[in-house]
Subunit: 313 residues, 3 copies
Amino acid sequence: QSSVTVFGVIDLAARSVDNGASQYQLAGSGLNSSRLGFRGTEDLGGGLKANFWIEGAINADDGNATGQTWQRRSTIGLQGGFGEVRFGRQKNPTGLTWEQLDVFGDTGMAASGRLHQLFSVPTGGAYSSFSRSSNSISYDSPTGTGFFGTAFVAAGEGAVGNKYIGGRVGYRAGDLLAVFSYGETQVTPSIDAKLITFGATYDLKAVKLFGMYSTTDVGAADQKNLLIGASVPLGATTLRASFHKADGGGSISNREAKQFSLGAQYDLSRRTALYTTYSKIDNSNTALTVATGSTLRSGDGSSGYEFGIRHSF
Amino acid sequence: QSSVTVFGVIDLAARSVDNGASQYQLAGSGLNSSRLGFRGTEDLGGGLKANFWIEGAINADDGNATGQTWQRRSTIGLQGGFGEVRFGRQKNPTGLTWEQLDVFGDTGMAASGRLHQLFSVPTGGAYSSFSRSSNSISYDSPTGTGFFGTAFVAAGEGAVGNKYIGGRVGYRAGDLLAVFSYGETQVTPSIDAKLITFGATYDLKAVKLFGMYSTTDVGAADQKNLLIGASVPLGATTLRASFHKADGGGSISNREAKQFSLGAQYDLSRRTALYTTYSKIDNSNTALTVATGSTLRSGDGSSGYEFGIRHSF
Amino acid sequence: QSSVTVFGVIDLAARSVDNGASQYQLAGSGLNSSRLGFRGTEDLGGGLKANFWIEGAINADDGNATGQTWQRRSTIGLQGGFGEVRFGRQKNPTGLTWEQLDVFGDTGMAASGRLHQLFSVPTGGAYSSFSRSSNSISYDSPTGTGFFGTAFVAAGEGAVGNKYIGGRVGYRAGDLLAVFSYGETQVTPSIDAKLITFGATYDLKAVKLFGMYSTTDVGAADQKNLLIGASVPLGATTLRASFHKADGGGSISNREAKQFSLGAQYDLSRRTALYTTYSKIDNSNTALTVATGSTLRSGDGSSGYEFGIRHSF
């Protein structure tokens, strides 16, 4: 009767971070996000399937001091020839696009997400629907090659920052993936954050190329991001590099940040990998850092490196 | 060696609620309570079994922001020809009886539980042992047809609201289930809440009837509840309706509330169902609502409807 | 693909505690610590293995009101002919040694850990790395008989009380286990707690003997602990007894405590056991208690007994 799959990732890295002052850390999720989840599919006949998926983050360095929650994903869906309709909490089109177009998967010390918010959230505002949304209803077109699309809406339920309306269209064929996404998040009752992201990946076998451009508009502030990356497979080893540039506009036109990252992954098996990552951020006058840690003086740079091991089950 | 069953329910519904002001929501547990659990049984020989069961609630709409706990049930029991003795946290006889005699299972927008507390808890008091009790020891008579009974005690451990002493006796045969339960919960060190509940369900095949009557006595306040319900199976579809009336007495004789609910469930399989529910509460002068949401002005009515999907694993 | 083992322990006991005033309780973890965990091993070939282990505590008496976390253990390790290297949160050498040399496994009402801290932590200090450490990197020599050793370091990451440096060496052969461990924990930025523990167990078949001696040095305070214990197997029953004495020195030379404990365990199977434990603490002038509960007046004694059931899965 029970048909549940237990799955997860444990990923830990020994890390040095220099945000003005240097600190050694043991840190989670350097290559992939550590997680524990339960998922399953029931075949309902006639091509129809019911899916469920609950997945929570684990801070394996300290045993997840905040308690197990399913905030990475908790969904129930109906899937058929028409595509899939899902209810619940999940990555929204904006978050999914960032993850796919970043050679580091928007994860770890080199995650591109750190440069996605040069602006300050207005007084009284929140910005919690950045990459995942609670209370969402989504429609995904059928999977396969060729064009695909997602429509996505998340109820605000009276809380600033929770509302999200968005979607994306893409094209997948052979070595190419191209995506365009749009998302609107409510920052205050009167100000929306509007995010346009587009880009592509192209796999030349000897090297896989990643490119992404995004614009964010939040009241009087706006910013433009350009991210380029590449990965090179060498047997069991994969090398990765990326460069990310964020330029403020409007009321934050004096803000700018650049991030440069290098990584190497060595696969002991399909499930277990050793890796090392180096990343460096230069800020004009906002305090973005490659990882949490020491307080950073405004305008200072930040850098760090880590050696880790990832196991998925 | 390991003999654990992972089980659960994910149940999410798109919902509209009008508690004075209207709001759209994605909400969990419209048909059954969303949960994740682990349970198992070990055969010890000679008819003796050891049972364990841990089960926690999931708020699948936002990924359970408060963290996974096993507050729905966490028990260890020894079971044999004598019945079963259990230690831990579990539904107490009062809660079990409400669940069995409500055609909506005391769950979702139509849950009868919303009319079970017209009274205000006295200053310095708590009322946490309403339907589940921590620190409990229970004895259940052997399962089967005919008479059955439960004796139940939960240690207060110095905390107001935790203590519970109760039990129930019932009769199950063919299409009939009849139950009488008594429970005492400590509200303040000097005031007990005393709850008597009795009723029956009778399955006429074309329709199943539900009836429940309860009296609650809390210091100077008391209330009487009458709940009637019916379910009608039509192939894969089940229709449900209930009417619930709560009358205050003593110091709250001016309080009264009525709830009327309608529901339909369509089974895609034994495990997956689509459903819709409508419910409406009229209050004389207390602010009971069909679901959490907007603040309700005292005496106002509340109504809502939802469309959901439930999958159990 | 998935290769995860779900495991755990549920252990609950009906308990009476007298810490000045008497109280009845239902309590967890009288014989073994209640827990839920997920673990797995992947064979990487060439004698190399990847291990993961996440394990959290369960308060089964109230359903773990604080939420499921993996604070008992969350590790990823690489194991081979060289031994094992692990990253994450885990028992440190000090905690492991206490557990092995206490006939009650440092668990339940008779746990020796209650007498390990006569001293008060200095103002501004913390002492959280007592038996487990977050952010740790450990090396264990290969398992088997003969000599073994562990080296262990935990990053403080700027938080007082988190830092830990330690290790242990031991010898295991036939009926003998002998262990020496050293651990340093940071209590304040300028004060370290230094813990030396050594002892042995010897299995004479008719009786197994346990002995442990430890010294703790925390700034101006220090203490010495002597723990002796014995277990006697009688068919499915095991009897246990221990005596523990803690003597303060330096600034706490007026503090002393003694604990005497008796226990009996009856195995219904390898996985399920009934047990009873009695324990009594006499304090000179510090308020150590056999279990949490009523407030104890300084210098008073404390005693309690419990009847429980443990099931592991």
